[in-house]
Amino acid sequence: MVKSFIPKTYKEALNLLAKNKLTIIAGGTDLMVKNKNISGLLPKFKKDLLFIAHLTELDYIKKEKDTIHIGANVTLEKILDSFHTHSLLKEALSIMASPAIRHIGTIGGNIANASPAGDTLPVLYVLNTKIVVKSLDSERTIPINDFIISSGKTILKENELISEIIIPDNKFDYEVFLKVGARQADAISKISFAAIANVSDSIVSDFRVTFGAVGPRIVREIEIENNIIGLTTNELNSRCKEICDSYKKFITPIDDQRSSAVYRKKVSLNLLEKYINSIK
């Protein structure tokens, strides 16, 4: 049987993390399923638990000059309901899980879980989100694409937790979020796609694309994006096939019970093509 710590304050939580090897548990919607046991028996956790969902120090949404700051403990439903939330993130949240899951699942949990099918991730990548990571005696702020290494793996050290995420508060001329899943609610994504673009005087001034659930990590290729920025919209449209081809090698889905690799790759590229064609 594992031990559980329920700290009274955030400071105490950081202290406990500094001294013990712990599994952080927020809403528990991922962890309770992963560690499920026979009905009536305790879940099969391997490490001692640190409960954090009740820590109000990590439960806030605030707007600063050009950024939105969301505490790690904020639930998915609260973010969905917030006036400050970026419209793309709202779209991703509104078709994510179900109300019952969104009421307790947290944004920190969705990010730390680092599932390539995590529904907030493509949007957080496309919005250039930064993750603030805290330990008792340090703090670092890391772009999300450096924070997540691969499926289920992040750069979090054992004494660290996510304290907040910072989302630049920008508006875009073009923005899209699309999810392909089996059932409307509680469906794990087969593919998700998020993209933004800005166009001024027929020149593409910003262009970002991400794919979720098509490989071990979210796909975002900055180099390809940089080659597109500066093109005229006509050039962009005429190079559509070439651009889609350049993403091909990064989209490496697997066959699983949810979908086949061939289907995922084909649909991903179709979504990209359609998106590029929509930019005028």
Partner: protein, 157 residues
């Protein structure tokens, strides 16, 4: 073990319990609240739904360590309210119950929805109930029942 304090169906509870234990097991086994059903045990069907601080949550994936100072209402507690009477009658009138296994969860989902949005559209009802599975009715009667409850219970929410 840890001390967890919460309110259950209006009663203050202080209990020593393993914080990793599932709320579902504690409700059914320690408090005999067997209106809370276990379907999937993985958060996907809503049979185990309860209200935590007035919103729907699936108790099969809630560890006790997260409910300190919260208020839990199960279908047993909710059944003592006027709102319940209205929803129950609407479910009966619209034929929204067959085997009944999903019904406690469906009623909790309806309450959670109507509490936030007393006059939901059909689309909003579908979203509100989207985490609850029913293997018998085909959902349309349940959707209709929520509409009826929203009308007949005017002023209650």
């Amino acid at each position: 073990m840890g001390k967890i304090k919460f309110n259950l169906n209006g009663k203050e509870i202080n209990m020593f319990v393993d914080p990793s234990a599932r709320l579902l097991d504690i409700l059914r086994e320690q408090y005999g609240l067997v209106g809370v059903k276990e379907g999937c045990g993985e958060g996907e069907c809503g049979a185990c739904a309860v209200l935590i601080n007035e919103v729907i949550v699936n108790s099969c994936i809630v560890p006790m360590g997260t409910i300190n100072n919260k208020s839990i209402v199960t279908i047993e507690g909710f059944s003592k309210t006027k709102r319940y009477d209205v929803i129950k009658e609407a479910f009966e009138d619209e034929g929204a119950v067959q085997c009944g296994f999903c019904t406690p969860g469906m009623i909790i989902a309806s309450e959670s929805l109507l509490n936030k949005n007393p006059h939901p559209t059909e689309e909003e009802i579908r979203i509100g109930l989207s985490g609850n599975l029913c293997r018998c009715t085909g959902y349309n009667m349940i959707i209709k029942a929520v509409k009826t409850a929203s009308k007949k219970g005017e002023g209650l929410w």
